[in-house]
Amino acid sequence: MNKFASSSLRRLGLGFALVLALAVLGWLYEKTQAADVQQRAALEESFREIHQLDSDWNVDIMAAKVGLTESYDPIVAPLSRIQDVISRLHSDATLTRFGLASQLEALRGAFKSKAELVDEFKSRNSILRNSLRYLPTLAGEAKEGDTSLRRAGQPRAAQIDAVLQESLAYALITDDAQQSRLAQAAGELEGSLSDSPSESTDSRRTLLGHVRTVMTQVTAQSGLLDRILKVPTVQAIDAMSHATDARFSVLSAESEYWRKVLAGYAAVLLAAVTYTGFRLSQSYAQIGRMNRALRYANDGLERRVQERTRELGTALQSLRESEAQLIQSEKMSSLGQMVAGIAHEMNTPLAYVRSNIELVHDQLGEVSDLVRLAGAMLSALDAEDPQPDQLAQAYASLSALVASFSEYSIVEDLSRLTKDGVHGLDQIREIVVNLRNFSRLDRSRTTRFDVREGLDSALSIAKSELKRHSVEKRYGDVPKVFCSPSQLNQVFLNVIVNAAQALPESGGRIRVASSTEAEQVRVDISDDGCGIPPELVTKIFDPFFTTKEIGKGTGLGLSIAYKIIQEHGGRVAARSTVGKGTTFSIWLPINEGSSQ
């Protein structure tokens, strides 16, 4: 006993040491994983994406500047996309861990100021482009519409052309020299305004207004584009990228260090394992001894196991028998429930067969009279010395009787009574046949059986229960199944009787259907009765569960039905809605070779 305890203690200690060794191994491994390659790749991908969006943005701004695109949507969209990526970076804990939150804010700020400059660019660009577009038209109007122009002659037209030319040139070549040339041309045209009558200068004034617009907008815009391109967005991205690179290389160096430690530790562990192996081989002899002891103990154990197995086998056998008994007794119990009904079923035909036979018996008196009178007539005719009186009397009696026979149609009556009697007897025979079919004590499952026959037989046995209800049969063509017919009949009867009992006294409807469904025969038995509450539906197949009064049901019917169907390799399910009714569905496999 003491030895046993100490060895289990040692085993515990060994297990603990092993767990500890593995934990250290895992911890060291974790340390080597500090530089997460995936994380690094994700961050770099984000930086690259911002970089890409930023350079696309620049291209689109230039395209808008030179008038390749007239819609500003392309230079509005990038900002929100860049902001999305920055928000994504913001929610990534890695950057915060690296202490790069402030750099991220700088990046956000850079894009914010870039966006503001782009907004200014859009406003200025629109104004500039409109004035540039309008200038040639305006110049034309100024030359044509100005009435004083004809007096002044060519010089004024040249002034207008010069202003137009210098304006367009300044929009293309924005430098100080061009600016001063434009300023000069504009100044000259303005000077011409003072020596013209005011009503003739309108178009020139408008022209000058637009020229000044071009001047201010071009000047402002050239600086603006410079500033847009110089917003340090790229630098901010690169700075972040470098900083994360640096952090990751530090982490990689750390990982490298821990990798070495891990290798060393692994070597030590290996040595320990080798040593243990050596010790193990040393103690092999001891183990051999222990083994023998164990084998001895084992033999004893095996014997005990065999005994137990035998006991269990016996128990199982008796359990199986009692289960078979239970099924049989439930069948008898449900039959017992049916007996009253069946007796009634048989009583009705019996009663009228009996009364018919009694009537026939009554009529037989008349028939024997007929036979007697006919005999008397024949003997009167056959006499050697016929007596006319006797003959006439016999004739009169016989013809009176024959007349009454035809008057009361006695022969037809007799024929009808016997025919009805035979019909009644047929009915009784049918019940008996069904009862016998039903209770056939076949335990093997070797019979091919048409479930529709079973359903019919169960319906006819349950006839007394179904009197007030209408039964609708919807039989689809189904192949025969290998089964134990009496057991299936028992199931059908049980479900049908349950269905009938769920229906109101005033009458209801039961529907019995058969169909083929994916290698299975399906039987549905539905009623439109009171239904089963959802919390009970799951229990109805439990043994001893019943909603009937004590003594009226065993609570075994459906559980046995369940068991029977299960043993047939099928399944049974109930679907119910309270107030609407219940449908029991039974699926039975169509075994190979069973189809016809």
Binding site: S55, T69, D73, D119, S123, Y134, G209, T213
Partner: protein, 316 residues
């Protein structure tokens, strides 16, 4: 590093190739619908007509953004809580998803930010989040919907988000002009097409372009003349974006409004000073473009503007 440079060069090559394709129209059609979170948008829809957002429960969003008026208000200025006059004309909320900023002065970067301002504004709901949330929290159904749609249930953030999500769903697709852009040449008449050509020729399109025919840039109101001085009585609200940035260059700068459904959204401008579309177009010619257009051309441009009216979403 080399790879990054190369990829950039290739990308620029592609972008340039795309730009060199035949010049596209400056206006592009609206999509048939915008992807939003239906559950959240459904809550936003309820909130849109919920008067509990306003201090005295007299107003809801829909009071000033009427669906049969192109999502705007049919008077110069709407009135907020206590009949207090607002200083801006109601901008349309339709197609707001495609505006680059919101409000007349572009002072809200998102629809959520608009809701934030509107709830507190003394000219609108004159309320506060604690009050609004307290009034709403008595509504078990609403609170339940929030709990289903948002892990953190109902709070200022989620109320704003639900309203924004709903607003983003309000697009007016299938305008006749959009159908024309998609290739259905008979969707607009010859006059309307002529109006569109004039719209481009006169330069209206320099600002009113893109998917929303505006709504993607800022511009000074009065480029070629001081409209607000000529109108008289310059108010604080007329300073526009200056009120947001306090930058001198932003004085009188406003967001260029979208022209979608413009035929439905009279009166016009941030001050509602143009009662009709003709007046508005004339002001634009004089003060923004610095040129004159014949009456006939103005009429044709207005005919074109009519084709920008799309299918109005069902009222909440």
């Amino acid at each position: 590093m080399l790879v990054r440079m190369l990829s950039q060069i290739v990308a620029i090559g592609f972008s340039v190739a795309a730009v060199n394709a035949p010049a596209a129209e400056p206006i592009s059609p609206l999509p048939m619908s915008v992807q939003v979170d239906r559950e959240k948008a459904a809550i936003g829809k309820m909130l849109f007509v919920d008067k509990r957002l306003s201090k005295d429960e007299s107003l809801a969003c829909v009071s000033c953004h009427q669906f049969d008026r192109g999502g705007s208000f049919p008077a110069q200025f709407p009135r907020g809580v206590g009949g207090r006059m607002h200083s801006f004309n109601s901008p349309s909320i339709f197609n707001a998803a495609f505006n680059f900023k919101h409000l007349w002065s572009g002072g809200a970067e998102s629809v959520e930010a608009v809701v934030e301002q509107v709830v507190a504004s003394p000219q609108v709901f004159a309320s506060s989040w604690p009050d609004v949330l307290q009034r709403l929290s008595s509504d078990d159904r609403l609170v339940g919907s929030f709990r289903k749609a948002y892990p953190d249930g109902m709070n200022a953030r989620t109320v704003k988000n639900a309203l924004a999500e709903y607003t983003r769903s309000l697009v007016t697709p299938n305008a006749r002009f959009d159908r024309y852009l998609k290739g259905e040449k008979s969707a607009i008449t010859a006059d309307e097409l002529k109006g569109y050509e004039l719209f481009k020729k006169y330069g209206c399109v320099s600002c009113h372009q893109g998917i929303n025919v505006g709504g993607n840039m800022l511009q000074t109101f009065g480029v070629m003349g001081n409209y607000l001085q000529d109108r008289g009585g310059v108010r604080d609200a007329d300073l526009g974006r200056y009120n947001v940035t306090r930058k001198e260059s932003d004085r009188f700068v406003f967001k260029v409004p979208s022209l979608r459904n413009v035929a439905l959204t009279a009166p016009y401008f941030h001050d509602g000073s143009a009662a009709t579309l003709t007046q508005a177009v004339e002001v634009m010619f004089k003060y923004q473009l610095g040129r004159r257009a014949s009456e006939q051309d103005v009429a044709l441009i207005i005919k074109f503007l009519d084709t920008l009216t799309g299918e109005v979403p069902p009222a909440p």
